[in-house]
């Protein structure tokens, strides 16, 4: 069987959901990603770890083409979602972003009501009927474990929520378009321990329905919440393995040095 056939089969089996193949990215002269071959499994959490500037965010952003608009960016290789190259000519980026949602480090709700924040995406995709939107808003807020806290203040400005609530609102917003994959770039680094715990608990629930890729600088968080861990260094993917193996017996010396805090 060819590599391609094996991969296609794995995707069909619901195993590897998304993968990159020899992915290179240049920001002008900066070679930020150097031939990344990474697999993201369905219904699992994959954590991307590595020192600052190693390319984690860049890699995450290539998965839903958030880098396209960066000036002087050059991308080669492929990112395959459900058997289709997301950089293919036929791909509609809006549809791609609906399938692959993103949550950022700092909560960034739009300056509008809680309700309108969630309804924003579905409206962009042409959903107008109130009853449908109501249903989506409730389902997304329930999914993000925020419904009970905001159900009586859906018309209030999103910016009046606490930081932790705002971040869960951003997760709800990402859920509203019915994604398959959720990308999160350091989603808890601006949050207090309790809010962080809530998001971590939430991720454990969300992975039943979504595939999650999270960038984190918190090694304990990666060990706690992820099933797979990918270690990046200087634009290379050094090692990607089951998290339990990675934090017990990493194969690469550089991984061991990093996770035991010996360089960074």
């Amino acid at each position: 069987m060819t590599m391609e056939a094996i991969r296609t089969e794995a995707v069909r089996a619901g195993d590897v959901r998304l993968y990159t193949e020899d992915l290179h990215l240049h920001y002008g002269d900066v070679h930020a990603l150097k031939g990344i071959n990474m697999e993201i499994r369905g219904h699992h959490v994959t954590a991307l770890i590595g020192p600052s500037g190693c390319g984690k965010s860049t890699c995450l952003k290539t998965l839903n083409r958030m880098n396209d608009v960066v000036p002087r960016v050059r991308i080669t290789g492929s990112v395959v979602l459900d058997g289709e190259d997301v950089y293919g000519k036929a791909v509609d980026v809006t549809v791609l972003r609906r399938k692959v949602g993103m949550v950022f480090q700092a909560p960034n709700p739009f300056p509008m009501s809680v309700y309108d924040n969630i309804a924003y995406g579905p409206r962009v995709h042409g959903i107008r009927r109130r009853i449908v939107l109501d249903e989506i808003v409730e389902r997304s807020l329930v999914g993000a474990a925020l419904w009970d806290e905001v159900k009586d203040r859906l018309k209030k400005p999103a910016l009046s929520l606490s930081g932790g609530q705002q971040q869960r609102l951003c997760i709800a917003r990402a859920l509203a378009t019915g994604p398959e994959v959720l990308l999160m770039d350091e989603p808890t680094s601006a949050l207090d321990p309790i809010s962080t715990l809530k998001i971590e608990e939430l991720m454990a629930q969300l992975k039943r329905d979504y595939s999650i890729v999270i960038v984190t600088h918190n090694m304990q968080q990666a060990a706690r919440i992820s099933d797979y861990t990918a270690f990046f260094l200087l634009g290379e993917l050094v090692e990607c393995d089951r998290t339990d193996r990675m934090f017990a017996s990493p194969r690469d010396r550089r991984t061991e040095d990093y996770i035991t805090g010996r360089f960074g």
Partner: protein, 219 residues
Amino acid sequence: MARSHYEHELEHLHVEIIKMGSLIEGAIEDSTRAFASHDLALCARIIRRDQTIDEMEKAIESRCLWLIAREQPVASDLRKITTALKMVTDMERIGDNAADIAELTMRIAEKNVFSDSGHILQMAGAAMLMVRDAVSSYVHTDLVLARDTQRRDDEVDAYFNLIKRELVHVFKADESHLDNAIDLLLIAKYLERIADHAVNICEWVEFSVTGTHKSAQIF
């Protein structure tokens, strides 16, 4: 970037383990000597010193737990600390076994007629060396030494069987020495246990390097 504070703490842990190691080696040596010379004062000192060994065990355990809590170590760092936590239990038992020998010696009214038996002293020497090498294999993360030390358990077992056969032989010739023979056999048994604890330590050292304990991959 080096984690200097953490490395420093780890070094401290090693120093404590080396200290505890030399205390238990001394206890084995003294207890066999006290037995051979029926030195009751030395016996009393050994039993008192066993408290210090117990306290060291607690101190090392506490140090390990704080290291885990503060540094949240993973991979080989976590194995190394877990190994310390496991092996101090065996080290403490070795101390107990030496104290047991001292207590037994104190209970005997007079000098055991077999106490100068060359084999018991040789056996004690072999067991003591196993303990020293077991501790040293931990401190130096020396897998070869750990494995070699485990194999030497057979030597100590052979001494035990030899001493047992000798005692049976002597007993058959002269039944009046039954008590003495049993005491000596008990001491040989304690020494044999000490060697077993040294083997346990080596098994944990093996784990600290490979993640495998008694052929089971556990971390």
